[in-house]
């Protein structure tokens, strides 16, 4: 099983306009930097992006917002991105804000072949509007849950620490975040890794994402891995 390809340009070569893409990462941590650069270079338009955040103004998905390649963002947090917030408030960008756990669980649902899941997140809020809700017994009490549908994404693009040519992936620290979920959820899953190793070099017990979920893999280059909030203490 050899899923190795050359680089990000080759990885995204069949990503056209108006498709739905999942992008792994939390803030700027664990984002597929190489593929984002390639998508900006390619200039595909009308994208629907599913990603917890949208980067910052000049890094991550923020780069694709600036070039107006994104038609719609499905995210949980806008926070640190002024351009994102501006496009949202002005109505230039379609935005669906959903709870972070709902975002993760809708990915999990897709990867696990569950068409829908139930979560209490958003009950009684505007997130619940138009959604089916249902009562279940939890710890002896009736509790309301929303039915949330599995995502249906054409592509998932994830960033891992290490990978092998079968597509097995290992993530590092909190750069794991949404990456394993999304890797499972894409119709086509592209993984960029910091280090691509031979089959057999990853400890099978330590693999986070089994290769069956990954269609293309390449070793990325020039990772900036920018820090969003540098907080330190004195020695």
């Amino acid at each position: 099983m050899n899923k190795t390809i050359k680089n990000a340009d080759e990885a995204i070569k069949d990503i056209g306009d108006n498709v739905t893409i999942m992008l792994g990462g939390f803030g700027l941590c664990g984002i597929p930097e190489n593929c984002i650069t390639a998508l900006v270079k390619k200039g595909v338009k009308g994208l629907t992006c599913i990603s917890n955040n949208a980067g910052v103004d000049d890094f991550g998905i923020g780069l694709m917002l600036k070039t107006r390649q994104v038609k719609k963002m499905i995210s949980s947090y806008v926070g640190e991105n002024a351009e994102f917030e501006r496009q949202l408030l002005s109505g230039e960008l379609e935005v669906e804000l959903i709870p972070q756990g709902t975002l993760a669980t809708r990915c999990l649902a897709a990867g696990y072949g569950m068409p829908a899941v139930y979560t209490p997140a958003g009950v009684g809020t505007e997130v619940a509007i138009g959604k089916e809700s249902r009562m279940f017994m939890v710890e002896g009490e009736e509790k309301e849950f929303l039915m949330e549908m599995a995502f249906d994404a054409d592509f998932a693009i994830v960033k891992a620490w290490k990978g092998d040519r079968h597509g097995n992936l290992i993530f590092h620290e909190t750069a794991r975040n949404f990456n394993p979920m999304m890797a499972m959820a894409g119709k086509i899953t592209i993984a960029e890794v910091e280090e691509l190793v031979e089959a057999g070099e990853l400890e099978p017990d330590q693999v986070h994402t089994p290769g069956i979920y990954v269609h293309r893999i390449f070793q990325g280059s020039n990772y900036e891995k920018r820090i969003e909030q540098r907080t330190v203490r004195k020695k």
């Binding site: 926070g79 804000l97 505007e126 993530f171 620290e173 909190t174 907080t231 330190v232």
Partner: protein
């Protein structure tokens, strides 16, 4: 009147031995610095970590290791990383004992609003909706009044809700209050703050029973 550190210090006293605690962005993050000595607490960061430690020493920042506020952090011995689905799985299944988060508004039935001012500001709910919908125990760290002097402890939230009937306790610059079926119950006054001041600053139903003690903060 308490400053931010004072609010954090007071909330820290609510943390018990053996607790798993999720700290939101802002004042709640500060709480970590004041956890009582001698008790064992594990901090959960919903981006995928149990066992969050203090900020790294200068020069030791690791871009792969951040908390839910995107700040560089460290881990403590016995920590574990996991993905976002498991992170919210453990939140949803009530394994996290205590959630501490900020709010723009809280209603006297426990409703909370903290993610959006229509037409003006949209941060997004992040993990807050999941946390408030599931946590066994929720403490809110917030300002009692806004910059215009208007109460943020209301009969009903005016901003879009984050969750309904979920807040259990509130610590503000003025007071500690429980949310009860009858409304906000005043438990403690901040140093130098009178019951009258708190009454005036509270929009929702306020229950005052007997003498209200002043908080003790180290």
């Amino acid at each position: 009147m308490l400053d931010k550190v004072g609010i954090a210090k007071r909330i820290a006293k609510e943390i018990k031995d053996g607790y798993y605690v999720n700290l939101g962005i802002g004042i709640p993050t500060l709480v970590a610095n004041y956890i009582p000595k001698g008790i064992n607490v594990v901090l959960q960061s919903e981006n995928g970590l149990l066992g969050m430690g203090p900020f790294p020493f200068e020069g030791e920042e690791d871009s792969d290791l951040i908390n839910a506020g995107k700040q560089t952090i460290t881990t403590v011995p016995g920590s574990a990383f996991f993905d976002s689905a498991m992170s919210f799985g453990m939140i949803r299944s009530r394994k996290v004992d205590l959630t501490i988060l900020g709010a723009m508004e809280v209603a006297d039935n426990g409703d909370i609003a903290n993610w959006k001012i229509p037409g003006k500001m949209v941060k997004g709910m992040g993990g807050a909706m999941d946390l408030v919908a599931s946590a066994k125990n929720i403490i809110v760290a917030m300002q009692h009044v806004n910059k215009a002097g208007e109460s943020k402890l209301l009969p009903k939230c005016e901003l879009p809700l984050t969750g309904v009937r979920c807040v259990k306790k509130i610590v503000t610059e003025l007071a500690v209050l429980d949310v009860t079926p009858e409304g906000f119950k005043l438990l403690e006054r901040a140093p130098g703050v009178s019951v009258e001041q708190i009454k005036n600053a509270t929009g929702g139903r306020l229950i005052i029973e007997g003498d209200v003690p002043e908080m003790v903060i180290d």
